[in-house]
């Protein structure tokens, strides 16, 4: 039950994009059509779900003073976390290329960009600063990825529709995407009143 709470909280209440602004770059760049947004969203769920437990294990058993080496290596955290993420993204890229060449072609350069998607590293850093247990870390990874997925699908759908609206030229495209994200952020705020413990 505790794990489910973490999932709901990370997917809706503490949504990585809409309340922490993480993963904004690819969120704005890839949200022009629902189809590519869908693929990238799935890739993000996958990468977050895998890297979170790996980084948890590294942090707990290697970097902390209570780990195997008995020394405080937390200053190496950034470098190790980003190395794990970079290699996982490489792996996902290879799997997608084999499993679905169409999706691979559609995602193009955006797959490597997941490496610098702040949502992934941010998730791992949040996991450390909130002192999650292993189960919570897995659940937080999946939930955070799911929240990111929802947000990018929603903005892509809105941007597809808004193309037919009469937007002032200076605001067309990027400017409108920013304002829409702000409005969506406010809409997601209303979920803050939900108490996951009441389920």
């Amino acid at each position: 039950m505790e794990l489910f709470n973490v999932f709901i909280k990370s997917a809706f209440i503490d949504n990585l994009v809409l309340s922490y602004f993480l993963g904004m770059c690819s969120y704005l760049a890839v949200s022009k059509s629902v189809k590519t947004a869908f693929g990238l969203g799935l890739a993000v769920i996958f990468v977050l779900g895998i890297t979170m437990p790996i980084n948890w294990i590294i942090n707990e058993f290697l970097l902390k003073e209570t780990g195997i080496l008995q020394t405080d290596l937390t200053f190496l955290r950034f470098i190790l976390f980003i190395a794990v993420i970079a290699s996982m993204v490489q792996l996902v890229e290879m799997v997608v290329e084999k499993a679905s060449p169409a999706l691979y072609a559609a995602l193009g350069i955006f797959l490597p960009l997941i490496t610098v998607n702040c949502a992934i590293l941010g998730g791992s850093l949040f996991m450390v600063s909130r002192e999650y247990t292993f189960g919570e870390a897995v659940s937080f990874g999946l939930g955070g990825g799911f929240g990111w997925f929802l947000a990018i699908i929603a903005i892509a759908a809105i941007r597809e529709k808004i193309r037919y609206s009469n937007v002032p030229p200076g605001l067309r495209g990027l400017g409108m995407a920013f304002i829409l994200t702000g409005l969506m952020g406010i809409a997601f705020m209303s979920l803050m009143g939900i108490d996951p413990a009441s389920f």
Binding site: C25, F78, G170, G173, F178, M189
Partner: protein, 239 residues
């Protein structure tokens, strides 16, 4: 003889000529990292609710961007293409760790306040983007300038957004520093004491809670993009 050679080299490539100046001024407007390149929005927008942390982050980004560009540019001919991402990330992560430790040592409250956002400079796409697009193909000095320019362009937007968010959301400027100013809003006791008047006419403002929300940053950037593109029409519909 050596002197004339040096002079010739200097004449061929001035240290701070027109091209070099353009490297710094271009990212401030025509090629702004946030409003035009749409890079690096991720990591630092959440820190813009107060002006002081935003200035700290801006300085950190200028530092990291400039030196990452410089180091990568020195190494550019010896980095194998297949592992360049990892090499770049290690360079950036090292610099960010330096920044983090320095901040922890000199200004612990700010470090606490910024928490994970310092670490997220690593994945700030603008640093990585400039390494890929510029430092891998240019000489060290020019890459260094390009890093400074992009860091400044990024910081400028950050500071503008933070200025409006703090002013409208809290009625203060530079809160959390010795020179904290209470510009508008109800509690202007220090100001009234200093000016020896009861400044009741300044107390009409009640804080706007929307400006404290992250969403306000999106609105302000949206409006900045609008303003910039109405003056600079060649940027319309770039993306």
């Amino acid at each position: 003889m050596a002197e004339t050679l040096d002079k010739k080299a200097a004449a061929a490539e001035p240290l701070f000529g027109k091209k070099e100046r353009k490297l710094i001024t271009d990212p401030l407007n025509d090629n702004n990292p946030i409003t035009v390149q749409v890079l690096g929005i991720c990591s630092a927008l959440a820190v813009t609710s107060l002006l002081y942390p935003s200035i700290v982050i801006s300085i950190a980004v200028v530092f990291v961007c400039a030196f990452a560009n410089l180091i990568t540019s020195f190494l550019r001919n010896s980095i194998p293409k297949s592992v360049r991402m990892i090499v770049q990330l290690v360079i950036i992560a090292t610099l960010v760790t330096v920044v983090e430790l320095a901040l922890k040592a000199f200004s612990y409250p700010v470090y606490k306040n910024l928490s994970v956002y310092i670490g997220l400079i690593i994945t700030n796409c603008i640093v990585m983007g400039r390494l890929e697009a510029f430092a891998m193909a240019n000489k060290p000095w020019r890459s260094f300038l390009d890093g400074i320019g992009n860091g400044l362009g990024y910081g400028a937007i950050l500071i503008i957004v933070a200025f409006f968010r703090e002013l409208l959301g809290k009625g203060t400027l530079f809160a959390g520093t010795p020179i904290a100013m209470n510009i508008i809003g109800p509690s202007s006791e220090e100001v009234s004491y200093l000016l020896n008047t009861n400044l009741e006419w300044l107390s009409w403002y009640s804080n706007n809670n929307i400006a404290v929300l992250p969403a306000a940053a999106m609105f302000i950037i949206g409006i900045l993009i609008w303003i910039q593109r109405s003056y600079n029409t060649k940027l319309v519909d770039v993306s």
